[in-house]
Symmetry: C2
Subunit: 223 residues, 2 copies
């Protein structure tokens, strides 16, 4: 195997929640990788070649082959480095449930968060209402467990924590503070995750996320 084939490369964009998920999974598994950050307004030929369908980050390049879509990347990482800390549960029903929640977070929580980021007054308010509803659902799913999968940090936690980080920004930026009153278990879970080594190393700070948003916004107003 050539050196190039052995290399593990993550094509990424640092404020992206989806990129963050892949980073956390790699750190949890103790995998060393080369981090290549993309300029999304001027995507690299490597990104276009490695994700010819969607042209999106994150892309994991392993043994010269590309794996795209964050939830597929996490499952791949779990299956390749299967002897380290497992990310998905082993029992089929629990695996199905984790996949369902991941899909829910990527669709619903992400979709409503985008409304809060981008929406004008009424749309932003709708986004906040939806986020509260999804948070209540997730609070119930979490119940009295330490993490979504039980006693150990895993797939669902990895996917939700970058959005929890957004919620913190939404507190100052969009006056989104109902979650603290209505979903105390979810907030406890989030604060615990934020202290975890793999999360600290991978997650942009709330300030960095907000700065990236302002940069984006400037781009639009000029675009």
């Amino acid at each position: 195997m050539t050196q190039e084939e052995e290399e593990i490369v993550l094509l990424d964009y640092w404020p992206s929640p989806f990129g963050t998920m892949a980073r956390i999974a790699l750190v949890e598994k103790g995998v060393n990788y080369i981090h290549k950050f993309e300029d999304l307004s001027n995507k690299s030929p490597l990104l276009l070649e490695m994700n010819p369908v969607h042209h999106k980050i994150p892309v994991l390049v392993h043994k010269g082959k590309s794996i795209c879509e964050s939830n597929i990347i996490i499952q791949y990482i779990d299956e390749i480095w299967k002897n380290n800390f497992p990310l998905l549960p082993s029992e089929p029903y629990q695996r199905a449930k984790a996949r369902f929640l991941v899909d829910f977070i990527n669709k619903k929580v992400h979709g409503s968060s985008v409304k809060v980021w981008m929406g004008q007054k009424e749309e932003q308010e709708n986004g906040k209402k939806e986020l509260l509803e999804w948070s209540k659902f997730l609070e119930e799913e979490l119940g009295d467990k330490l993490y979504f999968g039980g006693d150990v940090f895993g797939f669902v936690d990895i996917v939700l924590v970058p959005f929890y980080n957004w919620f913190i920004v939404f507190k100052t930026f969009a006056n989104f503070n109902t979650i603290e009153i209505e979903c105390p278990k979810l907030v406890m879970w989030g604060e615990k995750c934020l202290k975890r080594d793999s999360v600290c190393k991978s997650l942009p700070t709330s300030d960095q996320v907000y700065q990236a948003y302002l940069e984006f916004k400037k781009g639009w107003s000029h675009g």
Copy 2:
């Protein structure tokens, strides 16, 4: 375990491509199940209870617990009845690739097909153009293999064949016939799949699909 907990129930709607996928997977595994068809204009309390988030079919109820979302159901079926005919490849990269193609089909092929079904003139033409583009991509992915996973029928084939069935309807209904000229390997694959026992038993005929569409349309014009 009570009799109710042992039962395997599929909540379904017979013209649905997503319901069809779950049916094919169950037949491939030789699993006996109780088929409950839903009236989507008047959803059953069981469906609302078993899929409280999306209220959508298909839902697999097994040991009293529900599994939702067709691609998650197929993976669950593969993991529970793992000693029968495997549906997903065993090698992690091939598994990631299968998951990527399934996601692509469910998003892109389904999305463009809906434009052909529902769209007015220009939108329908756009849907047909997109479908041809996706079909060319899939033709290339298939290459000279018998099935998407190689020599055996599996996950990607199960998810694509209900849409291939739609393509046949689109030939008469929307003059969509370029695929036969441009994607001969995909057509050969599709015709081979249509003769497969699990597919024959699960797939509505093209005529039934078109009739269901006309019923739908009548509903809208009254709605």
